[in-house]
Symmetry: C2
């Protein structure tokens, strides 16, 4: 390549057979390229135009691939990746009280959290996920691990009314929450949100403090809400209010609220969520596995609610596969709505990208392939047996691809997965640590 002073130098040019930018909606660009500089998307343009305009320091050609925005897992408990498959096929309370909680009580700490997050990062990158909304204890250890690996995350600051290894009482939960928030304020990759566990484990007094602080600090509030019918019944008995009514009374139903699960959301509450700008995170596989109920995902979509997707933790899924999750979401929504036209392929992809970004208040920064946004990208090979023949790229992304067809991933313009291999990642070390945790946990039980 001869140097040409008229060409604009940039860091990276990715040329792909197809680009699905998500915004504009439902568009598939053929033979286009993404110009990237300083970690940001500079332009999306046809191959030929790119060759005449840019002098990239690095080129990546993806001749049989679709390039999509990196997937956003809008609800997960990634340290629990170390508990994958520990206990299955059990009623919710047996599962929690006899299996998950007793083990967690013995292992939770900064080391467990770090090792679980690192294993999760490997799995997420291999599956095209570039951002997650985390919800667990020891957010400082999580944040440190995400930052060390250049992975984008919103870290939940847990608030719950019982003591844990992380904090002994309400004051300490808030104190530690604010310390983590202060430490990561303005960080390019790691953000924070309040993460009150759920209405049934958090008192009004804590919710009031959260409301004041989230207003002052402009922080999202990420909580499990109306996951089961029992939660709603208990709340009505205890507070004479449905959980959502209680949150509304406490001033928390607003555009900072990230409401997870919502299997029991009523038609009136769907209107309320749309009007207030609440984001709902649908976790279809976890809801099925724990028999929590069916979230009316198509009603939420039609009602104009921002609907994102999450895997939930690996102990109730048992993976962090966002391509699988968006497929399950699209299939299940049709069954639940009794309408084969419900929750279509393009919406499923949007829910797993831009809507997730919006839930995390990151939609100005990520979630679509648009100039000015950060370059969080995933490439998916479509030239494999399982995605042939190919009539419709978006259909295959929603219904036919396996996460193992993800070949390349960039976060903030940095390549994290190259032709299926993790970049600058001690995979053997991470797997060895997972094996050691397995030995230790199996011995506890």
């Amino acid at each position: 390549m001869t140097s040409d002073a008229s060409l604009q130098p940039i860091d990276l040019l990715i040329s792909a057979r197809w680009i699905v930018p998500v915004e504009p909606d439902r568009v598939v660009l053929e033979d286009h390229a993404v110009a990237i500089d300083g970690g940001a998307i500079v332009e999306v343009l046809p191959h030929d135009d790119a060759a005449k305009k840019y002098a990239p320091r690095e080129r990546v050609d993806l001749p049989g691939h679709a390039l999509v925005p990196g997937l956003v897992n809008a609800h997960t408990h990634n340290p629990m990746t170390l508990l994958r498959g520990l206990a299955d096929d059990l009623p919710l309370m047996t599962w929690l009280q006899e299996h998950i909680w007793p083990v967690e009580a013995k292992v939770i700490g900064a080391e467990f959290v770090r090792d679980g997050v690192e294993l999760a990062i490997a799995e997420m990158l291999r599956g095209g996920t570039t951002c997650c909304n985390e919800n667990y204890f020891f957010p400082d250890a999580q944040a440190h691990a995400y930052k060390a690996h250049g992975f984008r995350a919103m870290v939940g600051l847990p608030i719950i009314e019982f003591p844990s290894a992380w904090a002994k009482d309400r004051d300490e939960y808030f104190e530690r929450a604010l310390a983590v928030h202060d430490h990561y304020r303005g960080d390019a990759l790691v953000g924070t949100a309040f993460a009150p566990h759920a209405p049934y484990t958090v008192a009004d007094a804590s919710f009031e403090r959260i409301r004041t602080l989230s207003d002052q600090l402009d922080l999202p509030v990420h909580l499990h809400l109306m996951e089961t019918a029992r939660e709603v019944e208990d709340s009505k008995r205890e507070h004479d209010l449905r959980p959502m009514q209680r949150l509304q009374k406490l001033g928390l139903v607003n555009d900072r609220l990230i409401a997870v699960h919502m299997t029991q959301v009523s038609d009136a509450e769907i209107v309320l969520c749309a009007e207030a700008g609440v984001s709902v995170v649908h976790c279809p596989e976890s809801n099925l596995k724990l028999a929590s109920g069916f979230c009316p995902a198509e009603k939420l979509r039609r009602g104009g609610v921002n609907l994102a997707l999450g895997t939930d933790g690996c102990a109730s899924n048992n993976d962090l596969d966002m391509f699988g999750e968006l497929r399950t979401a699209a299939l299940l929504a049709k069954g639940v709505a009794n309408d084969a036209a419900a929750f279509d392929d393009a919406f499923a992809l949007r829910a797993a990208t831009l809507n997730g970004a919006k839930a995390l208040q990151l939609d100005a920064k990520i979630g679509s392939i648009e100039p000015g946004k950060r370059a969080d990208l995933a490439a998916v090979r479509l030239d494999e047996v399982e995605t042939q023949p190919l009539y419709n790229v978006i259909s295959h992304l929603a219904y036919a691809v396996s996460r193992r067809q993800v070949s390349d991933v960039w976060i903030d313009g940095r390549r994290k997965l190259a032709d299926g291999a993790l970049v600058d990642f001690d995979l053997a070390g991470v797997l060895e640590k997972a094996r050691r945790w397995r030995e230790r946990i199996a011995a506890i039980r």
Copy 2:
């Protein structure tokens, strides 16, 4: 290796970290081996004992893998793999009448069927499926392709009351059905079944002939049954009977019946199926995608009905991924039954193997890893990120593995997939044919 006259010569010894034989139920054998000779399983025994007893001509070591029976896809339309993703997210009748049928009318023939089946074989082998129950036109072309590739299949002999490229009228459908049956009678890999399309497209007179012939020839009867609520309503209006009652009156409700979908099965009909020995094939992903209704899979299981699993065709799924299907079946059944303990991991694996074999009347021959059965086997790598840590092998097989972790497959003792690569298979040629069909079909539309 020194020759030792005391050792028994055999064709193949497969040593695996874990073997899940399916029968006995819920068992995981560690560090065992399968001795294979003449395509049959001779013995399943510990590694160390195998070394002292057998002199295999070939050895395969699977140090991080689980060896399971090859998966049985108990309902599919594999030629339709060429229509994968042609049309999605549409109401059932729009999808059929405006997209699938008009295209099929222009392409169906022996060539389309052969090329679709070959593409499907590649996908099935890569996903650990070793046997399928086929349901489409041109069963002669299907049978030829399956036999040529050494793939085990039961080929449906279609009966329907409208003319097609395969047959012009009822007599010709039966005539051609019997010719295909005669040709493959006694074949080691390819069997036949009657495949009357569905109660709403087949007249009593045809069902009566099928009943007589299936009794005489001992042939299974494979049909779509009670897929939607509308089918039941229509039958009640037209025949004053539910579809199952009509079949019972016609003498077809017996242990040869393979009833597919059954979303509308009543509690009384579950009892009837159990008593009569009917096999039900549950296709959860197709039922969701077409919004056909929720099959009460857990009720069928508890009722003692032989419950198998199928993907249905690629035009309504959009894959032939039986690991994905058994996972969806296990998750969805819990949601539908409102019971997290429903349809557990071991049952899901059994439904996708031995129960499928039983539905096809092949359970004396395949479906589990037992001495005397044919060696239809799949090996799954469990040492990858997505299946670590590992507490429970069967849990991971049901909830965490991706089909892309399938490394090796044998059918009738012959290796068809070796460390992820298809053996003696012209993959490039098959993909090229799929691309040509894509061009042709895209031009029709």
